[in-house]
């Protein structure tokens, strides 16, 4: 046993010390593996950063209530009686006047024209109660004023106003054959709400024939922990078939669809590239075995086992791949660190997010690199182990 370990150590040391003789080919393998890992980690850190940034923009002490099983606001309905039960529920914060800090909201879509392309797109039109804006972080009117309750007035999110035509302050727009005046522009801390149009809830309910029902209820909680109390209350009341979650959890759930999609693009691309680099690794390792044929045969003649030739070759391959993996991870870190900073500074976008590289993602990248090393080294290592000694000795 001890002898086998000594043999393997010696053969591996000999392989690695002879690497400089195969510098360029080995370097090509390292770089190919590095690129694979860079591409994979770019996608994974993008997906991760997107999900985390969106989740971070959600508050822990705001509850979002939807119909049970509703994937998003669009396909949710909460009835008038349910709204009332939620307002009376435990854990809901109350204002100085004793009123529950809640906002029932409608979430509809209307058409707009994109400035850049001139094409139609659907825009979110949200109807919300008087407390609605206050239940979101950082909402401020940057121009004009808040809409008056009971009127056909709207305020427009900053990002949406920039991107779509006809939403300048003082202009009139037509939704559902009703005319609306833009009376204000608002910001919301760069969150997704800046891409919405807001109007008075009762007005929308009557004009869009949704009287009596809303799609979501938003509520301020007495504390982040109160979300559990509220959920338990809702779960135990058969009249409330609702999903209760914190705004942070709701955002994370919304973001996960997008981040899953990014991941689902990233993995196949990285694996396709990995197969390419596998071909390179095989070539490199077969050349390595050929170049070391005399050394391998000499060691075998001395009495070294075929197993040490096998392991030595495999270890060489794994080490090359691991170096590539580390370089790839480092490159991702360096490149996308700078990338994020410039994007944030240069333009304003509704979802500005960082590429976030975590140890777990780096682990996945290294695992892919090692897989390339393993499969790229396996067959060359078998050849090294089985090579007839005489052929190796006399070329």
């Amino acid at each position: 046993m001890r002898s086998i370990i000594l043999q393997i150590l010696a053969v591996t040391a000999i392989n690695l010390k002879s690497l400089p003789q195969r510098l360029w080919l080995s370097l090509a393998t390292v770089i190919a593996v590095g690129l694979v890992v860079t591409v994979l980690l770019a996608f994974l850190s993008m997906a991760n950063g997107f999900r985390r940034t969106i989740a971070d923009s959600g508050a822990e002490d705001i509850a979002v209530v939807l119909r049970s099983g509703a994937v998003s606001e669009i396909n949710s309905v909460v009835l008038r009686d349910q709204v009332r039960l939620i307002e009376d529920g435990p854990g809901i914060a109350r204002g100085p006047d004793g009123k529950p800090q809640t906002s029932g909201e409608l979430y509809l879509t209307v058409n707009g024209i994109k400035r850049s392309t001139g094409t139609k797109a659907s825009l979110p039109l949200r109807g919300l109660g008087p407390l609605g804006p206050g239940l979101r972080r950082g909402v401020v009117i940057t121009a004009g004023r808040m809409f008056n309750p009971g009127t056909n007035e709207i305020i427009v999110g900053r990002a949406l106003g920039k991107e779509f035509e006809g939403f300048e302050l003082g202009q009139t727009v037509t939704f559902n054959s009703t005319r609306w005046s833009v009376v204000g522009i608002f910001a919301a801390d760069g969150s997704v709400f800046e891409s919405e149009i807001w109007a008075d809830l009762p007005v929308l309910q009557s004009l869009f024939k949704r009287a009596g029902s809303v799609q979501t209820v938003r509520a301020r909680l007495t504390s982040p922990a109160a979300i559990e109390t509220l959920r338990a209350y809702s779960d135990n009341d058969p009249r409330l078939k609702l999903d209760v979650m914190s705004e942070a959890a709701y955002f994370a759930q919304q973001a996960s669809n997008t981040s899953d999609l990014i991941q689902k693009l990233g993995w196949p691309l990285a694996i396709a590239m990995a197969l390419g680099s596998l071909a390179g690794a095989l070539n490199t390792m077969y050349s390595s075995v050929a170049a070391r044929a005399t050394e391998i045969a000499t060691l075998r003649a001395i009495g070294f086992g075929g197993f040490s030739a096998f392991v030595g070759t495999l270890v060489e391959s794994l080490i090359l791949a691991a170096i590539g993996g580390v370089i790839g991870a480092a490159a991702t870190y360096l490149v996308f660190d700078g990338f994020t900073a410039s994007t944030m500074g240069a333009s304003f976008s509704q979802v500005v997010f960082n590429f976030q590289l975590t140890p777990r993602l780096i682990g996945q990248g290294l695992l892919l690199a090692l897989a390339v090393g393993l499969f790229g080294g396996l067959f060359p290592a078998l050849r090294a182990a089985r090579m007839p000694i005489v052929a190796g000795l006399y070329g």
């Binding site: 001890r2 002898s3 000594l6 043999q7 010696a10 000999i14 010390k17 002879s18 005399t294 050394e295 000499t298 060691l299 075998r300 003649a301 001395i302 009495g303 070294f304 086992g305 075929g306 000694i389 005489v390 000795l393 006399y394």
Partner: protein, 236 residues
């Protein structure tokens, strides 16, 4: 047979050995019924025309090539009955190879090269170092421990290779044209060392050579031709 081998305890005993090479559809027979006996402590020079099978014979004796039929017993072991891994282990403890082009590992120092066979033994680090120093001392290179092959002359490299071959104290040394790449005086130094190893340390040596002067260092020489031996006794 032709050899004066001690019939009770020969180092090498080959009976009706057959060896063929097949390349595609062609089969060449190197030996069809080779017989050879070499006693322990002998120093035999094997000569013969190119392609007569001298290297093939050494490979068979060293267990790095396989015979097709017949019996081949070396150092008390029937090589034709051992598996590949058994042969590996057997080589480690019984055989020292010396090649024409030394076959040193260029990235290892003289001491590291000589140490390689000891990695297959149970010896600890300290014992290994002592043995390496002794072996390098025997070939007169005690002061070259940390030198790399490229920093040494051909003769010095071959002496390192000899040290490597004897360091684990094998009974049989197999040398394939050990002086084929060296000039006369360097060759004489190397051959003298082999002679000392045979005479003073009792190593059995089989040495293939084209050089009649080199063969003079052996106790006797055998001529291989057309698959058979013709012996020429030398006057020492």
């Amino acid at each position: 047979m032709l050899s004066p081998a001690d019939p009770i305890d020969p180092m090498i005993d080959i009976v009706d050995l057959c060896k063929r090479f097949t390349k595609g559809k062609e089969t060449i027979t190197i030996f069809d019924a080779l017989n050879l006996a070499i006693p322990r402590g002998d120093f035999v020079a094997v000569m013969g025309p190119s392609g007569s099978g001298k290297t093939t014979l050494l490979n068979l004796l060293g267990g790095i090539d396989r015979s097709d039929s017949g019996a081949i017993e070396v150092a008390g072991e029937r090589l034709d009955r051992l598996s590949e891994s058994e042969l590996s282990r057997w080589r480690a403890s019984h055989i020292g190879f010396i090649f024409q082009f030394y076959n040193l590992m260029p990235m290892l120092t003289a001491a590291q090269n000589v140490e390689l066979p000891l990695l297959l033994t149970r010896l600890g680090r300290k014992e290994r170092r002592e043995r390496v120093e002794t072996a390098l001392g025997v070939v007169g290179l005690a002061d070259r421990v940390k030198h790399y092959p490229k920093e040494m002359s051909g003769g010095q490299q071959q002496r390192v290779a000899i040290a490597r071959a004897i360091v684990s104290d094998p009974a049989l040394l197999l040398c394939d044209e050990p002086t084929g790449d060296l000039d006369r005086s360097t060759a004489d130094e190397v051959l003298s060392i082999l002679q000392v190893l045979n005479r003073d340390l009792g190593k059995t040596i089989v040495m293939v050579t084209h050089d009649p002067a080199a063969a003079q260092y052996a106790k006797r020489s055998l001529h291989l031709d057309k698959g058979h031996f013709i012996e020429k006794e030398l006057v020492a």
